[in-house]
Point group: C2
Chain length 522, copies 2
């Protein structure tokens, strides 16, 4: 019978189910967060004066020229040698004159548009705009029901769905969690499949070696109708430096592959001051600057004008253990100065959101997160990676913290807009009419603004103690736990052209056969 | 036997106990937080341009002149009338011309020294210095062992002890919690007794009516050898406005009493935008400014040059319930603009730290707290009240959150200092010596700075998951619970002159008899 589907449901039942889901979605405030990118009216927070910025710049130029960096990739060394750098091929080392570096860096755009498969999701990178991207590189997942465990492909899919449903996350993310149940050489294919089919947001994929970026570019071509658009990138990834002063072959392969295709490289030294760089912040930041500019210069030598983002990820080590410390004063200084350095070269800036070392989504996790997020946002960070989800110095993504962090993004979206000061908003007529001892709750001025005046939280609980207790005395993670499960039940995939879906599956099937058992970095 | 005390302990046992306690204290990092006041090198964060500040100023002048305020106290009305204000005695209302207000406000000092009974605890109010003061006005206490309950005198004493032990809390606080087991008219006497005997930090006492401030001033005279010092205040309290636009008799009595004695009034409108003021922030802040300046002008008319602090406590209401919302974007705007307005008049500025609506010291509590604390600190707030302990919109103080919040104060103390950029700190020699791929953990440069390079947390846990789990898998409140109990066990009172102790007890005993059953505000 044509009116009954395979599950035995009638057309009427299906319609009722769709209507119910639509109603649920309408009543879920999380799904109605603002869709536009945040823009900030604030001047960037700065902690160094221009002379100090110049001292860091000069020190980093000396590092590039006199200490140099290891580049563990022959093609990278070729490119640098051709551009005039002094190269020691045996040592895989290069010294870069400041003229070479600064001339190359000056080719990079200070703003660009990063295209998504849904043009309504395109992003401006740079200027007064911010981008929030989800967690990346996490190995474990945790939630209140199942505890902490290695990530799986099902976890990956759930994280893509939550990312797609959160209007304040602007990219689909890169390596949201390791899918341990997928063989290593096939993981990027599964990540790409989920990113394209479950989300219509800006694509990212690991810039690891040459095989993964080539597959990512092939998928991007499929998504964009066979050709990469000429007017802006559609995919990109993070290039980490093996600090101190070393780019490994895997990262250089990724950098060269993406840059050559005109795609985005987010060049990010990872420096724990006292371990991978000097214990003093000035020195660690001079090293960060040298390392970031070296990679950005290389991208520009590969393809002048390639979109790049200056990344900073400097914080201090816990010197008693050598472990990373996050959400620290030292990390806050670094986040702010990273922005100052990026502005000096007219480059977009990447920082990080929810950095913390807690093992649970508790008060420590929230505090350290906001010790990272406040300076990062005020520093005019254009691309805020790890904006949700982190725990344990990035080893674990928590489903509950993912949503707790999203509330902060919503708060910042509003905070950064500021507020009007004009006759209407000064409200003298209303102040006059209410007079001393009255109240403003039912004035026409208030009623007209009742639904839009203030940010309404989707997780924070403002009830009195007794009502909260009657409602189950749930703490914030317990409420977040309910919400992520409700959201996953309400998820619906974005529209996808059936031809594209078919081509994508065919490509992935072919590549899975080709790559089964392969060494991606051989 | 002279060698045995009442508990039967020998001199040797007592000495051993003292030695043990001294060793415990040496090993408790919390007790070694910096003693000096925090100073900030950052320019104040501003969100309005000078023209918008002027619009708010002009609107507030219009409110003072054309709408006026209720002053529910005959002496206050007399003072205002004598100064030339238009006064309606029957309506207990006054209209204040801008010339009168601005001329009076201009008498207030922009900085002053607030004296403590221990001169090493004296505070600078204003300039680039900050003061952190503990929670005030809370009704309930909670801790993980005993849950939530009405406060008692024993709780009050414990909170004074923790305040005294926390070097980053600079005043002994005001009404740390309601001591429900003490009769209402005697509570201020017990508060004063505990503040003077258990702490040597800057004194505060409720500016409620005329009796309490007179007793507080009498205690202050005892503490300072019979006379109030001529070169700066020694006590003060918060004057709240019954917004909109009303000072009640209790607050005016306190304001006049403290100002007449040259002591500190912290004049603070409490505006929930949408309830006690316009729903639009511009209007709410114009009202805040009018209300604060009216009280500050009155203090200056009572005694020109009396030390005052411009207070702001504007946030939004949750319009669905009328309840206060804290840690919001709107509250952050208000915290920042309050600082801009105070600077316009050259006044020290008071804001608030740990404002939140959570019922537990969970992730919501921590997030909202930092949404209040970051903008408050960056706004150059000179006097940060409620810097620790709040839960439930200020109804409850949590022993655990008290210590969790103190960690944030330590982080800010360091963050606000910035870091040096010079040859030593740029560390080029060290970067050169370590070279690519090396590490800095055991360089001479790192070793020389090993203990001082970074802030070491006393509560945040940076251990790997497994070590944390082996250590009991404690979340942040559980660790704070252990710490406050350890601290109370290590508490020792500051030195107190026996003559002063005796005089204080005699005064309190006499006043207890006199005030037993009295109506303090009659």
């Amino acid at each position: 019978m044509a009116d009954t589907d395979e599950a035995g449901q009638s057309r009427a039942e299906r319609a009722a189910r769709r209507a119910r889901r639509r109603r649920d979605r309408a009543q879920t405030p999380f799904l109605h967060l603002p869709r536009e990118q945040p823009h900030t009216i604030l001047p960037p927070l700065e902690i160094l004066d221009p002379e100090q910025v110049e001292q860091i710049h000069q020190a980093s130029m000396t590092i590039l020229e006199e200490v140099g960096l290891d580049f563990l990739d022959d093609e990278a060394l070729d490119i640098l040698a051709r551009a005039g750098a002094k190269v020691d091929r045996e040592a895989q080392h290069a010294w870069l004159d400041r003229e070479l570096v600064l001339e190359a860096v000056s080719q990079a755009p200070s703003t660009f548009t990063w295209h998504a498969r849904n043009p309504a999701r395109n992003l401006v990178i740079g200027g007064d705009a911010l981008v929030f991207a989800p967690n990346g590189g996490t190995v474990f997942v945790q939630d209140l029901d199942r505890g902490r465990r290695p990530g799986t492909l099902a976890d990956y899919a759930a994280l893509v769905k939550l990312t797609q449903m959160c209007n304040l996350l602007h990219t689909v993310g890169e390596q949201l969690v390791v899918p341990h149940d997928v063989p290593v050489p096939l993981r990027h294919l599964e990540r790409l499949r989920l990113a394209v089919t479950l989300s219509d947001k800006v694509l990212m994929e690991a810039a690891h070696g040459r095989v993964i970026p080539q597959d990512a570019l092939a998928v991007a071509r499929l998504v964009f109708g066979g050709e990469l658009p000429p007017d802006g990138p559609v995919i990109g990834g993070v290039i980490n430096v093996n600090s101190p002063l070393r780019y490994d072959g895997r990262m250089l392969g990724g950098l060269i592959s993406y840059a050559r295709a005109g795609q985005v490289t987010i060049v990010t030294p990872f420096i724990l001051a006292g371990v991978m760089g000097p214990v003093t912040l000035a020195g660690a930041l001079a090293q960060q600057n040298a390392e970031a500019l070296a990679g950005i210069a290389l991208a520009q030598l590969v393809r002048p004008g390639a979109p790049v983002i200056y990344g900073g990820f400097t914080t201090n080590a816990d010197l008693r253990s050598g472990a990373p410390a996050f959400g620290t004063p030292e990390g806050a200084w670094a986040a702010i100065v990273g922005g100052q350095m990026a502005r000096r070269y007219g480059l977009p800036y990447r920082g990080s959101g929810t950095l913390n070392t807690s093992k649970l989504p508790d008060a420590q996790a929230a505090s350290e997160t906001l010790w990272a997020l406040w300076p990062t946002v005020l520093a005019h960070t254009h691309f805020v990676l790890h904006a949700v989800g982190w725990l344990e110095a990035g080893l674990t993504v928590s489903f509950e913290k993912f949503l707790l962090d999203a509330e902060n993004l919503a708060l910042f979206h509003r905070f950064l807009q500021g507020f009007p000061v004009d006759e209407e908003s000064l409200a003298l007529a209303s102040i006059r009419a209410v007079g001393p001892g009255g109240h403003h709750l039912d004035t026409a001025h208030t009623r007209a603004r009742y639904t839009t005046a203030f940010y309404q939280p989707f997780l924070s609980d403002r009830q009195p103690f007794e009502s909260w207790q009657e409602a189950g005395a749930l703490d914030a993670p317990a409420r977040a736990n309910r919400l992520w499960k409700a959201l996953l039940a309400q998820y619906e995939p974005p529209a996808l052209d059936p031809g594209l879906a078919e081509a994508l599956e065919a490509f992935i099937a072919r590549r899975k056969e080709e790559l089964s058992g392969a060494d991606l970095y051989g």
